[in-house]
């Protein structure tokens, strides 16, 4: 398991944050390389020629792409500490199902919240809350999605929390009012050092989003 670890990333990326959190949970030292997505590095294009996207995890010179695959890889390689996926195959399949649900839904619907206005935006807000409510259902009364311990699904979802404030500002709504249990869970996660040091400040995310909106010509 020894060997250089490099992460090619972009600071506001929820997907990159997942990998940062996983690496921090396992206390793995790594080199963080910030990418300019308008001017992607040779290294990025070489290491992820298929998608040309961040995050890319490079371990001993070999690339692993796609954030959830990276989290699983980190969990398998550094399997002597802070297990992320549960041991039981059915629980693992359930965690993967919900992580896949997050991937299918949250990013695209969230994007529609800040990119659109009027009725389209209202629909996006409603759909986003519905997704979060389903996730609240999966959380139930547990401290974490992983049960008593922070795990794979917690890692998959927590990065989206730092974007909530930006969406709320753009959409003029409160996620906490609709999903108090989920916000309580998120605040619990934020008390963990691995999470707190991996997620950017929500105000910075909002400022970044305002810049993006300007670039897209959206008011």
């Amino acid at each position: 398991m020894e060997g250089a670890v490099v992460l090619l990333d972009f600071w506001p990326s929820m997907f990159g944050m997942r990998t940062r959190v996983a690496l921090a949970e396992k206390q793995i030292k790594y080199e963080y390389k910030e990418e300019d997505l308008r001017n992607k590095s040779e290294l990025l294009l070489q290491m992820n020629p298929v998608h040309k996207k961040i995050p890319v995890l490079i371990h001993n010179g070999k690339p692993v792409c796609e954030s959830l695959i990276q989290v699983q890889y980190i969990d398998e390689v550094w399997n002597d500490r802070a297990p992320l996926l549960p041991a039981n195959p059915y629980k693992r399949a359930t965690a993967r199902f919900w992580a896949d649900f997050i991937d299918k839904k949250l990013y695209d619907i969230g994007t529609r919240i800040w990119k659109t206005k009027g009725e389209e935006q209202e629909t996006a807000k409603k759909e986003y809350i519905e997704c979060l409510k389903l996730l609240e259902g999966e959380l139930g009364d547990k401290a974490y999605f992983g049960g008593d311990n922070f795990g794979y699904l917690d890692v998959a979802l927590i990065p989206f929390y730092c974007w909530f404030y930006a969406y709320e500002q753009c959409g003029n709504f409160s996620i906490e009012a609709e999903c108090p249990k989920l916000i309580a869970w998120a605040k619990r996660c934020m008390q963990k050092e691995s999470v707190a040091k991996s997620l950017p400040d929500q105000q910075k995310i909002y400022e970044f989003l305002l810049q993006m909106k300007k670039a897209f010509g959206i008011e």
Partner: protein, 220 residues
């Protein structure tokens, strides 16, 4: 293990259901494949077992439901370890998951963008589909299977989609054999495996289904 303990809610032409059947066959497991009537009315069991997506496949192991074909195949591999579908080393597994994810994101939709076309198929749609197969050819390299010397996870994920290619070929006016000969050889190799051959529908039958579907959707 008695048949009733392993139940698959199925639809004969679904490549996603085929993935599960092939995985179960590879593990020499007995199971019941229960057909769902996706057009007439989905069963209570399906709607209760997969309330989020209401789709097939749903795999029930001792009554506990699992959804999403790639996740189901992963579960089958972890629960019944022999023969293994995923490679033993972590990096190999990450690579296998990457290509399974690529196939999931790209192949069925690109194929559909060809066979769903009304009238002449735009060259962009054909090219996009071929480019994706060429990318997979590159991933395959000189190996017999995506997994290496033996049939494995990525092969299970990919091969079911290929019974839909004939429909794209007929409607798009091209052949995979001509455009991607390596991929075509890999297809033939997989189709020789009993686990695959005994469940894959004839491409001509899939084409009949596609034509019926096109009529239903008002394309033809």
């Amino acid at each position: 293990m008695s048949k009733a303990e392993l139940l698959l809610l199925d639809f004969w032409v679904s490549p996603f259901c085929l993935r599960v059947k092939i995985a179960l066959n590879e593990k020499c497991l007995q199971y019941e494949a229960r057909p769902e009537d996706l057009f007439g009315g989905k069963s209570e069991l399906l709607l209760n077992s997969n309330p989020i997506y209401k789709k097939v496949p749903v795999f029930l192991h001792d009554g506990k439901p699992l959804c999403e074909s790639t996740i189901i195949v992963n579960y089958i591999d972890e629960t019944w370890s022999s023969p293994p579908l995923l490679p033993p080393c972590s990096y190999g597994r990450a690579q296998a998951r990457f290509w399974a994810d690529y196939i999931d994101k790209k192949v069925f939709d690109a194929c559909g963008n060809v066979w769903r076309c009304k009238g002449e198929v735009p060259v962009e749609a054909k090219n996009e589909f071929i480019e994706i197969l060429k990318q997979l050819e590159e991933a395959l390299g000189d190996k017999d299977y995506f997994n290496g010397a033996t049939f494995g996870f990525v092969d299970v994920i990919a091969i079911p989609l290929t019974c839909w290619f004939f429909s794209a070929e007929k409607i798009g006016g091209f052949t995979v054999a001509e455009e991607c000969p390596k991929f075509s050889s890999w297809m033939k190799r997989c189709l020789q495996r009993e686990s695959v051959a005994k469940v894959m529908p004839e491409p001509e039958k899939v084409y009949e289904f596609v034509l019926m579907f096109r009529k239903m959707q008002g394309i033809d």
